[in-house]
């Protein structure tokens, strides 16, 4: 009897006490549901922020292809790449992917899919399709930098594809081969484009889509244009796949003018300014000069292209000391670079250094160069490509015509050199194309003279002396150190598949 009473009392107390602590654990500071439009804005920004980050782009690929040259702390131009660059780039892009995958989930889950379409956000199907295109782009940005990576596909449940797997959870995803990834990206882009083409006249995400303001039609063209890029990349490895995707993409519609270009225009308002602006103006630094390799080329000093290029005044500023265009010798050691004051060399041009610069994901000129390559380096497509690039940068019609008149005829080297010039500021794609084709052919390698002249009254010769790698342009970046700590078995499996975790290791897609 007594025990019973105690028991009841205890039960009562327990209910009372636990109810005292209920209901106060709901986070008042963060929402538990948000519109998909708010996720797409952040995902697009995250994607471009990481793709064009100071670390991966300005101190990475923009140096590797020798558009830029460092005038201080020159170690990255000499291929000493801090590990944190890989950590941040990898983390940022997978975070982007997770947000894009969230958009897919909200449009798939029966509990949320109806809400997801509210307020003009567009159909579930088109929201998913656009997310798939952006995801493909993010995976491309990862695989071209590292090689084998954890990958995930909307349309293909291959058991090697283990990234972003949260139900059931897999916190140690395996790395998929680049061969599988490239094939799947092509299929994903095709499927997404095929969905969007059905609703071409509609819009998705509205103005929350910073790239195309929601135009399904433009997303179709973007998806197909990307298929040109990626199928070309594997043309020597899988000619059939190349043909299949290239033809199909062309038939369904690719970029037809610069108005179709996929670009993310940054904001003039802090903190949403463009990466180069933040790395130079906001951070108050002048670390990046235009390299002598690139300035010489644009000035027509390079025998390969002895024509002066009207894009030079857009790409670069004249040196403040002399008001002339002076490229900074590429890859100097710190003490050598110290001899070249920032005032004596050309820094990035005003357009590209603007706070609201539009970072390009892909543009019409590249499409034309890819088509020229497809058509055995056709002259017409090559010329259209060059014209498209000049027009995009705002070169006057007269100058465009003058330049086109003096343009050397289409050839593998000329097309790819023009593509290199056009891809300025798109460091990753330019680096990838260099690794695929070996063009431009004049990038400096270990031992090459980068400067010969008189400094402080003495004649000097500076040669390129990389700190890491095999002497040539890096083949990849190190995997993130975090992967060694938290996903070691899969990391090591990737190394045994692809080679040591060094920058000189050649990736599958770029192997000849």
């Amino acid at each position: 009897m007594k025990i019973n009473k105690l028991y009841i009392l205890g039960l009562f107390a327990s209910v009372l006490l636990s109810s005292c602590v209920d209901d106060i654990n709901e986070d008042p500071n963060r929402p538990t549901s948000v519109p998909t439009t708010s996720l797409i804005t952040s995902a697009e920004k995250l994607l471009i922020d990481n793709l064009r980050s100071e670390q991966a782009s300005l101190r990475g690929s923009m140096l590797f292809v020798q558009y830029f040259s460092q005038n201080t702390y020159t170690t990255q131009s000499r291929y000493d790449i801090p590990f944190s660059y890989s950590d941040d780039y990898w983390k940022g892009l997978y975070k982007t992917l997770n947000n894009l995958e969230e958009v897919v989930k909200l449009n798939t889950d029966p509990l949320t899919k109806d809400v997801a379409t509210a307020n003009g956000a567009g159909r579930n199907a088109t929201q998913i399709a656009i997310s798939r295109i952006l995801k493909s782009y993010a995976f491309y940005a990862l695989t071209d930098v590292f090689g084998n990576i954890p990958y995930q596909s909307y349309g293909n449940k291959d058991e090697d594809f283990q990234a972003l797997q949260q139900n059931p959870e897999n916190i140690t995803p395996k790395y998929a081969s680049q061969e599988k990834i490239y094939a799947d990206i092509l299929n994903e882009l095709k499927a997404a484009g095929d969905t969007l083409i059905k609703y071409q006249s509609e819009t998705t995400f509205g103005k929350a889509d910073i790239i195309y303001a929601g135009s399904n039609q433009k997303w179709v063209k973007f998806a197909n244009s990307l298929r040109l890029r990626f199928s070309t990349r594997i043309k020597d490895k899988n000619q059939a796949l190349y043909q299949e995707h290239f033809q199909d993409a062309l038939s369904k519609g690719v970029f037809t003018s610069n108005a179709d270009n996929a670009a993310f225009k940054y904001s003039a308002t802090s903190p949403n300014e463009a990466p180069l602006y933040r790395a130079t103006v906001t951070a108050n630094r002048k670390d990046f000069a235009i390299s002598n390799i690139f300035v010489d080329l644009l000035q027509g000093k390079n025998a390969i292209l002895p024509v002066s290029d009207p894009r030079l005044p857009i790409y670069a500023l004249p040196a403040t000391a002399t008001n002339t265009y002076v490229g900074l010798p590429y890859g100097l050691a710190n003490d050598q670079a110290g001899k070249f004051a920032a005032t004596g060399v050309s820094l990035p041009g005003a357009v590209i250094n603007a706070a609201n610069y539009a970072e390009v994901l892909m543009e019409y000129a590249e499409v034309k160069f890819l088509v020229s390559e497809y058509n055995s380096w056709s002259q017409a497509d090559y010329a259209s490509g060059v014209r498209a690039s000049l027009e995009k940068w705002g070169v006057s019609a007269d100058n465009v015509n003058t330049y086109l008149e003096s343009l050397p005829a289409a050839s593998k080297e000329n097309v790819l050199t023009q593509k290199y010039i056009a891809l300025y500021m798109q460091g990753l794609e330019s680096w990838s194309e260099y690794r695929r084709t070996g063009y431009p052919s004049f990038l400096v390698k270990e031992g090459d003279v980068v400067f010969q002249g008189t400094i402080d009254g003495a004649g000097v010769t500076y040669r390129f002396d990389p700190l890491f790698g095999d002497g040539g342009v890096p083949g990849r970046l190190y995997y993130p150190t975090k992967e060694q700590n938290v996903n070691k078995a899969n990391y090591q499996e990737a190394l045994s598949a692809q080679g040591n975790d060094k920058i000189e290791t050649k990736l599958w897609v770029f192997k000849k």
């Binding site: 005292c20 602590v21 209920d22 106060i24 500071n29 538990t32 920004k45 005032t343 938290v486």
Partner: protein
């Protein structure tokens, strides 16, 4: 010698709180022969304090006896010529023969052994130390006489098993205290602080980047608000057994602090005045080379200005690989400002400066004044104390001021008594020093980067009339705005005086309560404990600084209230005693954070407001965080004779932070103590005065932070009017369970040869299960962290304290105490999916790995040939491994300390040697200081002139995918490399270069005191104490960087990111008693 003080406080404590009640065991023995008197009297201690509960027995008659009442009065019937024995815990037994029926007032003398010491245990219940089945160690407030700004740093070396890692410095930075190693992998490992029964918040106010050592300012944790002048004593309950009743927050032990209360019961006002002054010097800075100046190359640039040719320095370089400091006349940075006509274009020699960076540091001065009034009467006690502290820091423009008021009082009645205690503290600081890769950190500005020839006296004129900075690190030599701009490193004086942090914290904590004693054996206590503070800080980067100008306002409003009820009954039947407690507590805590900063730079120079920018950023921590815990608990303590004691506790908590269906957790403890010297067999041993074994087992549960269960989205700044949300980096977990730490401990306490030697040894074994861990995952999972319940961590170790008291005479007293502790830590299991947990990956990788101890530094090792020689690469510098290797644990092998107290008449002298053996640390300052040619070794042994041939071999190295490698075809290296190549290899080559052994032996404290006793004066006594802290590094294994540093009170330890070394402090205190 500190027990004296201690016991007084305990006495009051008992009286005030009435937690000890007495059952009068008086048996009236009927008179048989002779006169029978009823003797009354009053028992006090030497200071006049009433002693309640003193046992009074008639010699030879074990059946008779009584206890003094709450006011120390007694009454007993005895026959003439019988002898009364007064005995009381902690006091010497006193005998009086009854000659008449006059009252017999007795003054008991305190016992000098610690056998009968009373310590405060869980829920503020005082217990005889010998009754405890777990390790407790006490230090008196006197141990804090060196009065550090952060009171806890004075505990270093005084408690076995307690490790203090202090950032040092008078500005009250972090102090990390751990007991018995690290139990929680990613959670809190610091003990719970209870001050007069109030659990005190000890939030680490530092940002994660400060904790990781990458950049920030060490603002410390909030426990530094405790005023050392108000502390009467500190009891350290080391393990879960001791602390089980305190619940979730006590899994890492408890530090119980009792503040001073009114002392003697004389009805007169006691006044105590303490005043002290302290000087502090920055020492043990890394050594800089003095042979080569700034620049990247060894030749000067020549420029022609107004037709004259000058040598100019590479001002834009922030490295010291420049020309030899040979006296060549050059234009220094200060020879380029036309405003300074005397210096302008007036070349001066290229030499190491008269005033180098050490001139930047000034002598820190702090003065502390404390006045305390107390008054006690038989039914009430009251104390007020006021402390003012002003600190001038060691870096320019740094200061701290603190005002603390403590008021406590109590009144007691027959049925109801009241008590209350309020503390108010105001802390203000300006210009706290920076750590890590911040442009405002002097260590970065002068020891990691910089030009060694820069003269700091010149730098101190840091600003031009137009408000722009004069920087040595200017962009180039020309006399233009662009050229005058700071290139990378701000003038340190500019940083100190223009770009600084201001802080203010107002804090109020205390308790109020009442005790009802309906019957003699029962007391009911109700109390409310409150801890409320408001912290504000304003950070600024001035316009024209190197970095974009900025203003940030941070505030945190914190309040925690505990509503507590406790019923205590205390009974004794013959040889049996029983204390039972039943209690309940409801805790609620609110924390409101606001963190807003300007974006895009300030618009108007020297105006610091959030309005002064085109836009602001609201940092994501902004918001309200609420938490509540309900608890019920009970305990039973049984004692038999003075020999055997058994304690059991049980507690159940309900936490708001856990899922509703899994938020209740129950945990028990069981401890026992057996005083075997009470056995007849030991009774007649002379050599063994006291011996006790103890055994305890306990579990303590723990919850987590608020809002860890459900998926939420985080806001980013809107983009061109589009709202922008993202998933967080961390995946929350709706199925969290409470974590449980269980612990065994066994101990032995011996007093030998009439207390000449005392030994206390404890062995413990703790297991933490179901830990709530923020597990770093492969980012390819989509999230960077996942909250899981996993892991099993084992900590086992030994703590020992040996006390020797070889001289115990009236004039001479010498006590030596040695503490030793060894903790071994092992991660038994993390999770099914991963076996390595990454703790930090900012400056260096720090991980916890299954099968290893917590805190392994990971990085690139040297490559070793089969004969053990290091392999050099084709450039002639050491090759690094392809994958990470373990470079050592940051945990020490063991800690020891040696403390001495010597008294000769009124002189006292003491010192403390504190040591840590083993464990590694990573130094960013070393790594960067080598790269930039700053550190001494970059110019030692003619290395810059001759270069160096590294000791090693060349060979063909093949790295395998599993991280192993083979070296073949070795040959002795003969390639000579430049000093720069050698130094820079230490930066971008093997990480092992920058990992050092943290072993040290330090003379931590030195005190010398004298007390003037002035019985005829108004001032009763004056005490003078001179002291020094961190006086001497007797031995450090790492020669370049002081091993004793911390970046935070967090779990990321062993990473040095650019901290000011622990300073040396000298002080003198004057204490007056009226």
């Amino acid at each position: 010698m500190f027990e004296l003080n201690y016991k007084k406080v305990m006495l009051n404590f008992r009286k005030l709180k009435l937690l000890l009640l007495f059952t009068v065991l008086t048996l009236f023995v009927s008179a048989q022969t002779g006169d029978i008197y009823t003797i009354k009297g009053h028992v006090t201690d030497a200071g006049g304090t009433d002693l309640p509960g003193v046992t009074i027995q008639v010699k030879g008659n074990a059946q008779s006896g009584t206890l003094t009442d709450i006011d120390g009065h007694y009454s007993i019937s005895v026959k003439k010529n019988e002898i009364l024995i007064f005995s009381y815990l902690g006091f010497e037994t006193h005998q009086v023969e009854v000659l008449s029926n006059k009252p017999i007032d007795v003054v008991l003398k305190e016992n000098s052994t610690e056998l009968d010491e009373v310590v405060v245990t869980s829920l503020n219940i005082p217990r005889e130390k010998k009754a405890l089945g777990y390790a407790v160690q006490a230090v008196s407030g006197k141990a804090l006489e060196t009065r550090p700004t952060n009171a806890l740093s004075a505990l270093s070396g005084k408690i076995s098993g307690l490790q203090v890692i202090s950032s040092g410095g008078n500005m009250g930075g972090s102090s990390r205290v751990t007991l018995r190693g690290i139990n929680s992998i990613t959670g809190n490992n610091q003990p719970l602080y209870i001050i007069d029964g109030v659990p005190l918040d000890n939030t680490d106010m530092n940002t994660s980047s400060t904790i990781n050592g990458s950049a920030g300012k060490d603002v410390g944790s909030t426990i530094q608000d405790i005023n050392p002048d108000d502390i009467a004593d500190i009891n350290v309950l080391k393990g879960p057994s001791a602390a089980a009743l305190y619940g979730t927050r006590a899994a890492n032990g408890v530090i119980l602090i009792t503040t001073k209360k009114g002392s003697s019961n004389t009805d007169r006002l006691d006044i105590q005045v303490n005043t002290g002054i302290e000087l502090e010097n920055v020492v043990r800075l890394p050594k800089r080379q003095k042979l080569y100046g700034g620049g990247y190359s060894t030749s000067f640039q020549k420029v022609t200005i107004d037709g004259k040719e000058y040598n100019v320095v590479d001002y834009a370089a922030d490295e010291s690989w420049g020309p030899k400091l040979d006296g060549t006349p050059v234009l220094h940075w200060y020879n380029l400002d036309p405003e300074y006509a005397n210096d302008y274009l007036n070349p001066e020699p290229w030499v190491y400066p008269k005033n180098d960076v050490t001139d930047f540091f000034r002598t820190g001065v702090s003065n502390t004044n404390n006045i305390a009034f107390s008054k006690n009467s038989s039914s009430s006690a009251f104390r007020v104390s006021f402390t003012n502290k002003n600190v001038k820091g060691t870096v320019p423009n740094s200061s701290l001021s603190r005002n603390a008021v403590n008021i406590s009082g109590s009144t007691k009645g027959d049925l109801v008594s009241f008590f209350g205690n309020v503390n108010y503290i105001n802390n203000k600081s300006t210009g706290r020093p920076w750590t890590g890769a911040s442009n405002r950190n002097i260590i970065l500005e002068a020891y990691q980067w910089g030009q060694v020839q820069v003269d700091y006296k010149r730098l101190s004129e840091y600003k031009r009339a137009d408000g722009t900075p004069r920087a040595w690190n200017r962009t180039s030599w020309e006399n233009t705005t662009a050229a005058e701009k700071t290139k990378y490193i701000d003038n340190p004086y500019w940083s100190a005086y223009e770009s600084y942090l201001k802080e203010n914290r107002d804090r109020l904590y205390g308790n109020i309560g009442l005790v009802i004693t309906p019957t003699k054996w029962l007391s009911l206590t109700g109390r409310i404990n409150g801890d409320v503070y408001q912290y504000n800080s304003q950070d600024r980067i001035a316009y024209y600084s190197r970095s974009q100008s900025m203003y940030q306002e941070y505030s945190q409003k914190f309040d925690e209230f505990n509503y507590e009820f406790l019923a205590t009954s205390n009974n004794r039947w013959g040889d049996h005693s029983l204390i039972a407690n039943l209690g309940a507590n409801y805790m609620r805590r609110n924390r409101r954070v606001s963190d807003i900063q300007t974006s895009g730079g300030l618009m108007i120079p020297a105006y610091y407001s959030l309005n002064n920018a085109s836009s602001v950023i609201i940092n994501p921590s902004t918001g309200l965080y609420k938490k509540a815990i309900s608890s019920v608990y009970g305990s039973v303590s049984y004692g038999w004779k003075s020999m055997l004691y058994l304690d059991g506790t049980i507690r159940n908590d309900w936490s708001s932070t856990l899922p509703t269906d899994n938020n209740s957790f129950l945990y028990p403890s069981l401890t026992s103590s057996f005083v075997f010297t009470e056995l007849p067999a030991f009774k007649d041993q002379n050599w063994l005065s006291f011996g006790k074994v103890r055994l305890g087992w306990a579990e303590v549960g723990n919850d987590t932070d608020p809002y860890q269960l459900y998926k939420t989205y985080e806001a980013l700044n809107a983009f061109e009017g589009n709202i922008s949300y993202t998933l967080s980096d961390k995946l929350n977990n709706p199925n969290l369970k409470p974590e449980i730490t269980s612990s065994w401990e066994a101990g032995l306490q011996l007093q030998l040869f009439n207390n000449l030697i005392g030994l206390d040894v404890t062995y413990y074994n703790n297991n933490s299960r179901n830990q709530i861990i923020q597990l770093p995952t492969s980012d390819a999972f989509g999230y960077s962290y996942k909250l899981i319940n996993a892991g099993k961590i084992n900590n086992k170790g030994i703590e020992a304290t040996l006390t020797v008291n070889p001289i115990r005479q009236k004039d001479w007293d010498w006590t030596a105490i040695a503490n030793f502790s060894k903790n071994s830590n092992k991660i038994i299991k993390l999770s099914d999916a991963v076996n390595t947990l990454q703790l930090s990956n900012t400056l260096v990788s720090l991980v916890a790995q299954e099968g290893e101890s917590y805190g392994q530094i990971k990085g690139y090792d040297f490559v070793y040939a089969p004969d053990g020689k290091k392999v050099v690469n084709s450039d002639g510098v050491y090759m690094r491994t392809d994958q990470f290797a373990s470079l050592g644990s940051v945990l020490p092998d063991f800690l020891w300390s040696f403390q001495n107290q010597l008294r000769y008449k009124d002189f006292t002298f003491g010192f403390l040697i504190d040591s840590r053996v083993g464990g590694k640390f990573f130094s960013q300052t070393y790594k960067v200081g080598m790269y930039s040619g700053i550190l001494e070794s970059t110019a030692a042994n003619n290395i810059r002139e001759d270069g160096i041939v590294l000791d090693g071999v060349t060979g063909n190295v093949v790295f395998n995918a599993d991280g192993t490698y083979t070296v073949s075809n070795t040959a002795t290296n003969d390639k000579r490399v430049t000093a720069q190549a050698w130094a820079q290899n230490q930066y971008n080559g093997p990480t092992a270069y920058t990992v050092f052994d943290a072993t040290f032996i330090k003379l931590r404290e030195l005190t010398l005191g004298y007390t003037f006793n002035l019985p005829k004066w108004k001032v009763k006594s004056i005490n003078v104490t001179a002291y020094a802290r961190n006086l001497w590094n007797i031995y450090t294994k790492s020669k370049d960087i002081d091993p004793e540093l911390t970046n935070s009170s967090g779990n990321v330890q062993g990473i040095e990111g650019g901290n000011l070394p622990t300073p040396v402090t000298y002080g003198i205190n004057l204490g007056f008693k009226f």
